[in-house]
Symmetry: C2
Subunit: 199 residues, 2 copies
């Protein structure tokens, strides 16, 4: 398959790219500052250009998103908006525009995260954005067929512990290649509207 | 208790106001164009003025929110943004700012909706916004104590069937006064981080 992978250069994205290439897929990596294609996916117009540049696609997968982690009492209105744009609206817009570009039997694989169900201190904005992604996946799944849509919801990945470990005290980490397996399941499988939790 | 009720003049809000007044509470109703206080709660600056005008509060409850219902293929990027602002960001901001204005043992009661779990055609934007609200409630509940926060998630209410019935074909409606009971439970009870589903 020909797969557009957003965030292909990140910690998780690198593992997803590797897993997909190992399965014989062609991966077109998208990054904000590098990759096969460069785009700021939080900008709807940049997304339109991205899809034009990408050409025919069998699948779109997202392995990155930006969220502000800050105690609730210190979060600003802008932090909420930035997090919605960086983690939720960007992914919704990828699907909204992508439905016209992806093959009729193609799929979308979005990324949420454990904090949608299991909150952590300083994670309220991220929780909200992830909850939006998961509910959207369930809803879009009844309107997109024959295209499919799922989300992968990882806990913190081992390779990100230096940066995010302190936020996830006492929560088990998983290696990025285990999370990547869920992307393969979403893209090669036949289910839709699912949230694949990797814990 | 002294309770700020956003959307007090709406179908659900009227039932909530009635239930709270019947329990002996003082209700300060907020509407966009009428009520005890007038404010556009999607505007953070208007919210700041609202809290200043409202004075001391024991609870904040929301009984209204704006969402765009349109088939996924017809939704625009603006529809997503409008729905996030109207149903999710407005409520998050009510809590963010309200934490400084509500009594230490006070509470917040937000509103989500059945489409967070049970999608309907044309409801993808609303699903996303409601999913955000529910995940935020779970997250804020671990940072707000001793203040509490819950959400009420109604299915379609009987009194709204003329407007929304076609979207909820084959789904049972509930009378607004049953939904109002869940607000009483959230405000007078001791739980936090809950989503009270009224189905």
């Amino acid at each position: 398959m020909r797969i557009l992978l957003v965030g292909a250069g990140g910690t998780l994205g690198s593992a997803v790219r590797q897993a997909l290439v190992a399965r014989g897929h062609e991966v077109i990596g998208v990054g904000r500052s590098g990759g096969d294609l460069v785009a700021d996916v939080t900008d709807p117009q940049a997304l339109a250009r991205l899809y034009t540049e990408a050409g025919p696609l069998d699948a779109v997968a997202v392995a990155a998103g930006d969220a502000v982690f800050r105690p609730l009492g210190e979060l600003t209105a802008d932090d909420f908006m930035t997090t919605f744009r960086g983690k939720a609206l960007s992914q919704l817009e990828l699907v909204r525009q992508g439905a016209r570009h992806v093959a009729p039997t193609g799929s979308f694989t979005l990324v949420s995260g454990i904090v949608a169900e299991e909150p952590i201190l300083a994670g309220a904005a991220a929780s909200a954005a992830n909850g939006a992604v998961e509910a959207f996946v369930r809803a879009a799944a009844i309107e997109l067929p024959p295209q499919r849509i799922n989300a992968v919801s990882p806990t913190v990945v081992e390779e990100s512990l230096p940066a995010y470990g302190p936020f996830f005290a006492g929560m088990e980490a998983v290696p990025a290649d285990r999370v990547a397996t869920a992307y393969v399941r979403s893209i090669e499988g036949a289910q839709t509207g699912q949230v694949y939790r990797v814990r």
